[in-house]
């Protein structure tokens, strides 16, 4: 960081305003400017993150014969639309897209909403059994997902839901992870003073959560919905 800070000092005369501003931003702590090393590291991580994804796209544009050959292809071939056509028609991708969007949309919205209110209660409200209930929430995350496949299937079969979307949506409407996530976040991000200000004068619990929670968890909602 020091390199970027000393640099402008050398050719400071043409831009005197910048020279005044830079040391200030350095003092402010969390928000300092990134130096070249930071960008190099980020570039490496970007390549690492995207390469496997890009490669699946390359593979999608080739045929089996080429993919089996030894130096694997590094650039796109001409088969993309042919492959897409087959995938779209044979795998019925259009219907799958609609279903996925619907299932993901409904469960994401519900998870965000239910996780926020439950996480808020665990983070900021006092009630009997809070600790035990929180342990249960964390405990549910420890259940191996493979474990519930058979019982869930038998349940769904009993309800005659085997070919319907609610069989997929209902079990995924709540997420223990989401509750835990919102709780850990709200403990810090939501100052008690705001709740007191909102809560003791307008003690509608719904009002508390509505007015005091909604700005801070904003950045967290997308991730708890994943």
């Amino acid at each position: 960081m020091t390199t970027t800070l000393t640099k402008p000092a050398a050719d400071a005369d043409p831009q005197p305003t910048k020279r005044v501003r830079r040391p200030k931003s350095a003092r402010a702590g969390g928000q300092m400017h990134a130096g070249p090393i930071a960008y190099v590291i980020l570039a490496l991580f970007t390549i690492g993150s995207l390469l496997p994804l890009v490669w699946t796209a390359i593979a999608a544009s080739r045929d089996n014969q080429r993919l089996a050959q030894t130096p694997p292809p590094f650039w796109f071939g001409g088969n993309l639309f042919h492959n897409l056509d087959i995938a779209w028609n044979d795998a019925n991708l259009g219907k799958a897209f609609i279903n996925t969007t619907f299932v993901a949309g409904v469960s994401a919205l519900t998870i965000v909403f239910l996780s926020t209110i439950a996480g808020f209660a665990f983070a900021k409200l006092r009630f009997k059994g809070r600790g035990a209930m929180m342990l249960i929430v964390i405990g549910t995350m420890m259940v191996p997902p493979q474990l519930s496949v058979i019982p869930l299937y038998m349940m769904v079969a009993k309800l005659d839901w085997t070919d319907q979307l609610q069989a997929v949506i209902l079990p995924s409407l709540v997420s223990a992870f989401g509750v835990f996530f919102m709780r850990q976040y709200l403990i810090q991000a939501l100052p008690d003073e705001i709740i007191e200000a909102a809560g003791w004068t307008v003690p509608a619990a719904g009002g508390w959560c509505g007015t005091s929670c909604s700005p801070p968890p904003g950045p967290r909602w997308p991730s708890s919905a994943c």
């Binding site: 960081m1 931003s25 003092r27 402010a28 702590g29 969390g30 928000q31 300092m32 400017h33 990134a34 930071a38 590291i41 980020l42 991580f45 690492g48 993150s49 994804l53 490669w55 699946t56 030894t70 130096p71 694997p72 239910l114 996780s115 439950a118 808020f120 209660a121 409200l125 009630f127 964390i138 405990g139 995350m141 420890m142 259940v143 191996p144 493979q146 474990l147 519930s148 058979i150 019982p151 869930l152 038998m154 209902l170 709540v174 223990a176 509750v179 835990f180 996530f181 850990q184 976040y185 403990i187 810090q188 307008v202 003690p203 509608a204 619990a205 719904g206 950045p219 991730s223 994943c226």
Partner: protein, 338 residues
Amino acid sequence: MATRHDTAALPLKEGGAAPGRPPADAVPDDKDQRRRARLSRRWQRDMRWSPYAFVSPFFLLFLAFGLFPLIYTGWASLHTVELTDPTDMQWAGLRNYTRIFDDDFFWNAAKNTLTIGIISTVPQLAMAMGLAHILNYKLRASTFYRVVMLAPYATSIAAASLVFVLLFGRDYGMINWGLHFVGIDAIDWQNDKWPSQIAVSSIVIWRWTGYNALIYLAAMQAIPQDLYESAALDGASRWKQFLHVTLPSLRPTILFTVVVSTIGASQVFGEPLLFDANKGASGGAEHQFQTLGLYLYEQGWVNMHLGRASAIAWTMFLILILIGIVNYVISRRLRASS
């Protein structure tokens, strides 16, 4: 869902609207006092019950779709059940449990799960912390980097594993090709024990580092700037600020990622399953990277022993609870000592 929430939220609305504004009139008569008493009773009811209303939707749905399967599996683990006919259960007592504790492959899988868990979690969280620190700088195109860091998380395990299998190929893989230039002989990433575990861990690291980095970043941005300013005024260096301001403020978040990563590591399944697709659920020719999740799958869905698979699932569950308790005790000690 909507109906369920409505029933849960109803009492709040009743109690909520009422005691909002204090009555403005100066002469409190009898009627007014009674009204006030009623409002305050409502208010207290609201205070007492609303937390339960907030958490009840979660617990109702969990009861139906989480607790029932858990108990059912516990019940099944005490029976001899085969996948071919899941409704035909014969009482077996604890025999399923003694069988798996006598099985060397169970202990092998437990050891592999532990080592793969450590190899994947520790570097992943350390790298995520560094990455979050960099992302917290003033950056050009910061949104771009954040989206990119989340890209692996949005990739399906299957797609990621396929690509990594190619990268780690013994004869033609890109990684051995690169090692060749540095003068290192070809490594058999699939059949040697430690290389295969490192390779499987690298898939996990690839998928989760950016995700954890974004969690750390969100928490870092919630740290008040004045803490850094006063630390800087006291003459704390950047590194000291990171140690004494950033890390303590991130403690709940770090605890969270450790818990979630530990749980995730204990359930690693898709990556080792697809890393050697020919061997499938056995986790390599000599079970060298078979995890507990894979062992469970092999017993239940390859060997058809549903009862034994249920016993493995419950054992995993109990091990995790044990780890959770240890984690809790350690974090309490840490809090007490600081």
